[in-house]
């Protein structure tokens, strides 16, 4: 596979108007002999973006399908005469053509009225298609995420993975090594206070960024970060794994950069700009959290200060470890909700939302299905191109053979006929591969949106956990208030008042006040999340409509364009061989 280092530095030249996949895919096309690995990387990046809900089994499925695409790729690629030993078919490097080159005409690229590159430069990130005849239009597809109204951009690249070592002395050499990536940003957004900058980050930093965003932006459709994938890192070659991860990180950051709200987040700014150690609060590991929570629990159980949910805490969902008591309470509440023991004081009433939720589920199912079928379509096109190429090559060999051994003129005639068929087959093969490279990009929209469904589900669960918090607080408030009432009644019976009881009542009222504050905060938070959900759903609908439409247009234009080219190639051969048609009975 192309060295990631190379790709990193070369990518710099391909920056400005190109979309992410183009760098991946078209760069591979520059060197004809990597167009196979370009399919592989396309396939593996396809697998990166699919994060179905039932993560483990299906993601391992996808890994294995990418892996099997890889393994099936290696053997034909090795034996694939179109790449290795006969570079005469690598028409971008005519200098490397050996003796067989005489059997081919001038590179078919010269025949091509357009090239994917031209279409790419023509189409801006805004996803506007270059209009015109279908034969000229293979609009390089891009997501419509960037607002078409403004001209602002935030362009991120991830490159140059390097091994670094944690800690100066380690007894075991090689311990505590990790990989950092160079993250370069180019932007004209004023908030960033700079137009070009770069930082080094490790994967752990990305996890931190993702967690902080999840906390701060509840209710938003936050793109899911790349997997930690421990298994993969063991199984794959180190270099491949690093490259796969680099690609995934780049995609992730670019998705963040195209989210209208998240791109302006402080967390992202800090991540992209601040040199040195990432100054975001580290995601603490589970153990220390548990410890933390265990320390707090006795206090909470005995009703000492801190037993109550501080208002600011309700803004976050109950986390394991820290908020054991709160967790218990909310669990009790959710069980009560489910079993209908008590009708929750506030329920999910928004009918529209519930309908939307159902629709989202359905959409997810259909996307998953469509995405699968898209993958197999891509494979079928790939195979077709390959076999056509192999057929062409076999006929080239035959042609050469007949010419060398010819004793009769009929043999030379046959050889000439064969040559034109072979040339056509090779051309058609190349067209199929180009077609496929574009198809991958277009149909990738399915994968993208499938990944987005995860974000949608996350946002919906933000909402339900916020609702649960509200419900819990409300019922707690209720029980606190009834306790207060009881206490008041009892203390009123005693003349002069019961000093301890009065004190207890005062404490209780204080607790009630704090709980009420918390409840109000929780309700506000819930409403805020609801609004985020709503606006995001609207954005999703609009963007999805635009993106899918673009995808369809791009896909169809592409198919038409290449089918026409292929038809042309074969029509010529049919024309050349038409004398035979008259002779046949």
């Amino acid at each position: 596979m192309m060295g990631s280092e190379n790709r990193g530095s070369d990518e710099a030249h391909l920056h400005a108007p190109k979309e992410e996949m183009e760098d991946l895919v078209l760069y591979g096309q520059l060197n004809g002999n990597t167009s196979y690995s370009n399919y592989r990387s396309a396939m593996s990046s396809l697998s990166d973006t699919t994060h179905p809900l039932s993560s483990s089994p299906s993601s391992s499925q996808i890994v294995s399908s990418a892996a099997s695409a890889t393994t099936t790729a290696t053997t034909p690629a090795d034996a694939d005469p179109l790449f290795a030993p006969s570079p005469y078919l690598d028409l971008r490097n005519p200098s490397s053509a050996p003796d067989n080159s005489t059997y081919l005409d001038t590179p078919p690229y010269t025949d091509v009225a357009f090239s994917p590159f031209d279409a790419a430069t023509a189409a801006e990130i805004n996803g506007i298609e270059s209009p015109g005849k279908s034969s000229d239009n293979t609009s390089s597809y891009s997501l419509s995420r960037s607002p078409s109204s403004s001209s602002e951009y935030l362009k991120i690249t991830v490159s140059n993975p390097q091994k670094e070592q944690e800690g100066a002395n380690s007894i075991v050499p090689g311990a505590n090594t990790y990989v950092t990536y160079l993250i370069k940003t180019r932007t004209n957004i004023p908030d960033f206070g700079g137009s070009e900058f770069g930082v080094r980050r490790r994967f752990r930093d990305v996890v931190t960024l993702s967690d902080r965003l999840a906390e701060s932006y509840r209710g938003f459709f936050i793109p899911p970060r790349p997997d930690k994938s421990v298994v993969e890192s063991q199984v794959m070659q180190k270099q491949e794994f690093v490259e796969q991860r680099r690609v995934a990180l780049e995609k992730y950051l670019r998705r963040l950069a195209s989210h209208p709200v998240l791109k302006r987040s402080d967390e992202l700014k800090v991540f992209l700009q601040v040199q040195g150690k990432l100054p975001l609060a580290l995601t603490t590991d589970m153990a220390s959290r548990m410890l933390d929570g265990a320390v707090k629990l006795p206090k909470q159980l005995f009703g000492e200060s801190g037993a109550v949910l501080a208002p600011h805490e309700v803004v976050q969902p109950a986390k394991g470890g820290r908020d054991l008591l709160r967790l218990f309470k909310e669990l009790k509440q959710s069980v009560a909700n489910d079993w209908g023991a008590s009708r929750p004081l506030v329920g999910e009433e928004d009918k529209e939302f519930l309908e939307k939720k159902v629709k989202m589920n359905e959409l997810e199912q259909q996307l998953s299905n469509a995405s699968q079928q898209a993958e197999s379509l891509v494979k079928a096109q790939q195979d077709m191109g390959e076999t056509l190429g192999e057929l062409g090559l076999a006929f080239i060999k035959l042609t050469k053979f007949e010419n060398e051994e010819a004793l009769f003129s009929s043999q030379r005639v046959r050889a000439a006929d064969m040559k034109s068929v072979a040339t056509a087959a090779v051309k058609a093969s190349r067209f199929y591969r180009e077609l496929n490279a574009q198809t991958v990009k277009h149909l990738d929209t399915f994968h993208e949106y499938l990944g987005l469904m995860l974000a949608v589900n996350g946002a919906f669960s933000d909402r339900s956990s916020a609702l649960l918090t509200v419900q819990t607080l409300l019922s707690e408030l209720g029980s606190l208030q009834s306790r207060a009432e009881k206490l008041e009644v009892q203390s009123n019976k005693i003349f002069g008042g019961d000093k301890s009881r009065i004190r207890k009542l005062e404490e209780l009222n204080e607790t009630i006040r704090v709980t009420q504050d918390a409840k109000n905060v929780a309700i506000r938070e819930y409403e805020r999340i609801k609004e985020n959900n709503r606006s995001e759903l609207e954005r999703l609908d609009n963007e999805r409509h635009a993106d899918f439409l673009n995808m369809l247009k791009g896909f169809v234009h592409n198919q038409v364009g290449y089918a026409e080219k292929i038809a042309n190639v074969w029509s010529n051969v049919a024309e050349e061989t038409s004398p035979y048609a008259k002779e046949s009975p």
């Binding site: 279908s134 077709m384 192999e390 009929s410 046959r414 169809v556 074969w570 051969v573 049919a574």
Partner: protein, 401 residues
């Protein structure tokens, strides 16, 4: 650029009625499946139209099955050494059980081509066995089929094995593993080498052609699945976009059917001719083996004759009473030797003629195959373009929500 010509066939026999050209045309038609299970077979109607005098009339219809064709080929191979007997399609034991309509049709076509090649070959068309094949009633044919002696008693599958043995024997001879029976004919050596190499190249091309057929089927299948998924997505999306997806799905399914059809065309018009080419080359290899046999016989006999001559001289010198006997034997052997030489020379002569015709014929056959192939691919690509293109107006009219 195209200079290939069809060789004109015509008998070189007794005068015809001046008003009509001599013709012998055969068609193999109407495949009918008969029998059950393992015994199942296909019978064909073989219709002969001719004005050859030796034939029983202007038209004759008989019923034949595959093994009858095999009988004919074997007889011709035995009697017309040196001529490249047209090849038969393989008797595939597996396909038999499936007997799909496409398979049957391809088989029928191949058999039709087989008989017509024989009928248009200037020597083979004179064959009595051909006349028998084209005219004898079914019982006679069956008797003949069963009562062949020697190797022809065996089932066709075994014949295939024998052919393969012949193949390996020939290659052994060529590679010099057996006692070399070298004709010391450099041109002939070149020809043999050419034939062997050619088979390899052709087999490879045929392999890829077959794969190409498969790819068409696979692409068709994936388009069908994709279309279905798109339709489902369209149904769930609703609105104009949903309709667009539905249309896409419908087109996709249409193209899927188109691709399956093209796959079948490809199989019949491109892969089959390549297979036929391979078979023809294998038939030539069998002829090469025959020539080697004939040559060896001739050499062996020549050796034996020499020895006998020496012996005879010795006997004559000693005035032995066995001279007469020896002389008789010697003369017999000499006659045999002349016979063997004549046979060998016939083979050589025939082969020289045949190779010219073979090359020309193959150029034509492949030219036709290439033409059909290119036409089919162009047609397919155009229908793909048309189908997708028809979607564009609808897509353009879909305004973003």
């Amino acid at each position: 650029m195209i200079t290939a010509q069809r060789s004109i066939s015509g008998p070189s026999q007794s005068p015809r009625s001046p008003s009509s050209q001599p013709y012998l045309s055969v068609s193999v038609t109407d495949p009918v499946k008969l029998g059950n299970g393992v015994q199942a077979y296909i019978s064909y109607r073989v219709i002969t139209k001719t004005n050859f005098l030796e034939y029983q009339g202007p038209e004759k219809i008989v019923i034949r099955r595959y093994s009858d064709f095999v009988w004919l080929r074997d007889r011709l191979f035995e009697k017309y050494k040196g001529i490249f007997i047209p090849p038969l399609p393989e008797k595939s034991a597996v396909e038999k059980f499936r007997f799909s309509a496409e398979f049957i049709e391809m088989r029928r076509q191949a058999l039709d081509v087989f008989v017509n090649r024989i009928a248009s070959h200037h020597e083979l068309q004179q064959s009595e066995d051909l006349r028998t094949f084209l005219q004898a009633d079914e019982e006679t044919m069956e008797r003949l089929r069963f009562h062949e002696t020697g190797i022809f008693k065996k089932k066709p599958a075994d014949l295939m094995q024998i052919f393969k043995d012949v193949q390996s024997k020939v290659s052994d001879v060529v590679l010099g593993k057996e006692k070399p029976v070298d004709e010391s004919n450099p041109e002939y050596e070149k020809l043999k080498h050419y034939i062997f190499e050619l088979e390899n190249h052709l087999a490879e091309a045929q392999k890829h052609a077959y794969r190409l057929v498969k790819r068409h089927r696979e692409l068709g299948q994936s388009l069908a699945d994709f279309g279905k998924a798109a339709k489902l997505l369209g149904a769930s999306e609703g609105n104009a976009l949903g309709k667009a997806f539905t249309e896409l799905g419908v087109k996709s399914e249409t193209l899927s059917i188109r691709l399956q059809k093209e796959a079948q065309q490809l199989l019949m018009n491109f892969e089959e001719p390549l297979k036929d080419y391979v078979r023809a080359v294998q038939s030539i290899k069998a002829t090469i083996a025959e020539r080697a046999n004939a040559f060896r016989q001739q050499c062996e006999l020549a050796e034996t004759i020499k020895l006998k001559e020496i012996n005879l001289d010795k006997l004559m010198l000693t005035r032995s009473d066995r001279v007469g006997e020896a002389e008789h034997e010697y003369n017999e052997l000499k006659a045999e030797g002349e016979e063997a030489t004549r046979r060998f020379e016939t083979i050589v002569r025939r082969m020289n003629e045949e190779i010219v015709h073979f090359q020309e014929q193959k150029t034509t056959d492949m030219g036709v195959a290439f033409h059909e192939f290119a036409k089919g691919q162009a047609r397919l690509a155009n229908s793909i373009a048309d189908a997708w293109r028809s979607l564009l107006p609808k897509l353009e009219s879909c305004s973003p929500a």
